[in-house]
Structures are given as C-alpha cells and as structure tokens.
Symmetry: C2
Subunit: 140 residues, 2 copies
C-alpha cells in the first residue's frame, strides 16, 4: 500500500501543478465542491469554476511563471480536516505584460480527507501589502 500523503503535501503538489501549468493535476488538488478566493477577491465555487478561472492565465500572462510554496503551519481540526497556512511566491516571466516580477502571498487552505484522499475544501489567498502605501511587498 502506498503511504498516504498528508494534508501538508497539498502545498508542494499545488506548486508542482502550477509550474507544469497542468490543469488536470491542478484540478486533482480540489474536492468537486471546493471554493477558491484568489488574491483579488474573486470567488469561485466548484472545481470546474476554479480551473476555468486559472486555465486562461496559464495560457497567457503566467504561461512562464513559477510558484514556490512554503508551509508556515498545519492546524489539525479533526482526523479528516486541517488548516494550512502557506507562504507563496509567484515569479512572473517575460510573458507577463509588465515583465518579470515577483508577488508574495499568504494562502489559507482548509484541506479535508474523503475516501482516503486529502484535497482542498476551501482556499483564500492574499497579497502581502504595505498597509500605509497599498503597494505589494516581498517577504525578503
């Protein structure tokens, strides 16, 4: 029997799917009824909407982007549910209209286990911003 992947593995699997721009792998991260609120406050419900919201940017402005995720912490809710905080960094490339740049964000994800598989139930992302200027900031 293959060792089960724990809830925190979502962070690396998310980055891997993003970096391969693989929407099938991306879809597999989410329960069918999952929710996703991106860093602009756009709210999608259901894996179909979530993928439909991401596929176009992987074909255009983020087609050469890379994403790295660092798990900040994991808070178990139950045997079948956990809360993840993930420091995330999106590095845009030449395909982006403003050229190469980085965006640092904090992801809150609720991951739950159904039928033995840990997947995302709900996720929200927020860009790190200077409260005084409203300008995006980087962690380092």
């Amino acid at each position: 029997m293959v060792q089960e992947e724990g809830p925190a593995s979502i962070a690396a699997r998310f980055a891997d799917a993003w970096n391969r721009h693989d929407m099938a792998a991306f879809a597999a991260l989410f329960h069918v009824d999952a929710s996703f609120v991106n860093r602009f406050g756009t709210y999608w419900r259901g894996v179909e909407q979530i993928v439909a919201g991401h596929a176009p940017i992987h074909e255009t402005i983020y087609s050469d982007s890379t994403l790295t995720n660092e798990v900040a912490d994991v808070d178990p809710i139950s045997d079948d549910a956990a809360i993840l905080h993930i420091w995330s960094r999106l590095s845009a490339g030449a395909a982006h209209p403003v050229g190469p740049h980085r965006v640092d964000t904090m992801i809150l994800a609720v991951v739950t286990r159904r039928d033995g598989a840990w997947k995302i139930q709900a996720l929200e992302n927020v860009t790190l911003v200077n409260p005084r200027t409203g300008e995006p900031i980087l962690r380092d």
Copy 2:
C-alpha cells in the same frame, strides 16, 4: 437553556464587536490559539496577537469606522467545524487620514465548536481588487 448560536452567527457578532470598537467582545470571537491573516497579509497567531493588531486602529484611523458582514455561505466540515465565506464592507469615517471611504473584502473563516461555543479558529481576509489595475473595487 439558551439556544446555542450557530457558526454563521460569528459574522454578525464580528461586525457588532467592530462597530462598538469593543476589544473584549472582539477577543471573545476567537479561540485562544486562533490565527488571523488580515487584508494586507499580516499574519497573527493567538487571540492576544489578534487583539494587539486591531486595538491600535480602533483607537485611531478606524475609531469611527463601521463594518457590515453578509454571510455568503456556510460549508459544514463536521458537527463541530464549518467554513464561512463573508462579504465584508468597512466604511471608514473622518478619523481616517484619507477621509470617509469604503473597502469591500471577502473573509474566509474556519469556525469550530469547543465546550459548546462556536469561535473562530482561522480567518483570512482579502480586499476586492481589479486584477488589471490593482485598484480596490466595491461590490456594487
């Protein structure tokens, strides 16, 4: 026996505590080990940090602000845990350096029940933003 308040009641209680600028009532919304990521990506852990992060703005720039919350949906995780999406609107007043204005956000909150009391376990907020301009937008 008083009827138990359900998980969705957090939204109204959050707004009520905010609008009274009552940090004791605000603290009572959170489990002692709760996490909070505000709309600037600032990450606080534990109710003490969460209150310490909010108390100064209630004494200054948001001392005359009002907040309204509208529950978008409630997704049960278990009998003792639920995910809330909350459309939130912060109306700043004359005390704010830039004067009266509104900010619309989307809150993702994980609420859990311990010892019969539903409180916030984790919360993240994000400002609604136009992805093309980076400017804040309002829902209506």
